[in-house]
Subunit: 267 residues, 2 copies
């Protein structure tokens, strides 16, 4: 295991592995380690090239919606997913999707009649459950709804900062925010409390699963709720969610933005 | 530049950069280069951690359909994209999507009435234009339709091998193959010739853009063609395409499979 100790070392000694070979000798020689200005070297550099390739391929397949329903991350990608989540990868991806979304929102032609709308999912989109998943193997453990509910009921999930930035930008343009979550209606109060505490304000409506929505797939439940918004005359400009089941189905938004999440899958 | 010479070196000397630190000394010390069994070390190891992170993030955003229309790859990802395409990354991703698609096809409940259908795009899905893009910066150059047409008219594009495997598996299950391409009707003969030469046979129909389809986006053109298939009673079990415009729109298939392609974007 070359794990935490290497983080320490690499945070002191960032490096790049490039050799300036000025003679054409075909024989192997010792590689020269050079100092570099970048400070991106982290835990992930300890994973073998093979694991990096394989698990990146798996993660890309997740983000492209190419995988069948899956219950937990591949066991041999456990360190990779952890590194991605706590390292720079996740943060970079979050910022990219937030920036893309904001650029699109700013360029969209708005009607200004109060019917321009944007849909936001909550978990892993507006609020981060990373403190919970840190304790549960970053998706390596099978999902335990009892334990997760206990976490939700603490109401302490931090904001996904890049999403808070997008959220505020969207509101500042006069677009209405609809929060459409798979959370249960019985968690309304704690969810409102958590959202406010984490900096989210002034949403138009918070939609949670009511009794009759339980047992439906997220795709079906969320599609029905979007159908209702369309019937009420809203134009769905954008939709931000970390699950494809947030984004696909009927009454889809003009642009859908897949927020990264390699930890779990909701059908 | 630590480019081709390092490929040479690394192909002789595969390595992993992991140190087994058994004492907790917080002081920097020389890193130890270890031999490893894997042979995945290539050109990409020359890219800085920063470029790897940034360009992987960009590529994930492409595959997740998070980017606005884009005309060419980011300039600072030119080496990264090349490495991905000629290295193991692209091949791994192709195999993964092919395997996922085949598993799904084998588990799908088929009617057996001759109306089970699968849609395949052609370019970068069944046939590879990599020999062309090798000569044109792997997406770094702005697309030149005249030059690309000259390449198409040679009829020498090789099969995407993983897609040929899927294609044959799909046919062996009794599913009808519909080839739905953005290529023009005037390229029908050379396309048929190229497909046959590369090993593809027995498709049910090859659909190309006719005069009235020119000027439509791929999403619109392909949606209209899928609408017609549905009207003809076909059930679209699967759809394989390297562009989201192959997969989204109306009459979408039960499962859509995004074949990797970081080189270009078609709306």
């Amino acid at each position: 295991m070359c794990f935490k100790k290497v983080i320490l070392l690499l945070s002191i000694l960032p490096f790049a592995l490039c050799q300036d070979i000025s003679d054409p000798s075909p024989f192997p020689r010792p590689l020269i380690i050079e100092y570099a200005e970048i400070n991106g070297a982290r835990l992930g550099d300890c994973l073998s090239v093979e694991v990096q390739l394989k698990c990146t391929s798996w993660r890309v397949a997740v983000e492209a919606n190419n995988l069948s329903p899956w219950a937990r991350i591949p066991e041999d990608c456990a360190d990779y997913v952890k590194e991605y989540m706590v390292g720079k990868g996740y943060e970079l991806d979050l910022q990219r999707v937030s920036n893309e979304s904001e650029n699109y929102a700013r360029s969209a032609s708005l009607s200004g009649d109060g019917k321009d709308a944007w849909i936001f999912d909550i978990d892993e989109t507006l609020l981060s459950n990373l403190p919970y998943y840190e304790e549960h193997g970053y998706g390596l453990e099978i999902f335990d709804s009892t334990k997760f509910d206990q976490w939700v009921e603490m109401g302490t999930a931090p904001a996904v900062e890049s999403s808070l930035k997008l959220y505020n930008a969207v509101l500042s343009l006069g677009i209405k925010a609809f929060l459409l979550t798979g959370r249960s209606e019985r968690h309304r109060n704690i969810t409102v409390h958590n959202l406010l505490k984490s900096g989210f304000q002034d949403w138009n409506k918070l939609i949670l699963r009511s009794t009759e929505d339980h047992g439906k797939t997220a795709t079906k439940y969320k599609s029905e709720k979007r159908d209702e918004l369309i019937k009420d005359g809203y134009r769905l400009l954008g939709n931000s969610g970390d699950q494809w089941s947030d984004l696909l189905g009927s009454s889809t938004a003009n642009r859908a933005f897949k927020v990264p999440n390699p930890m779990y899958y909701i059908p």
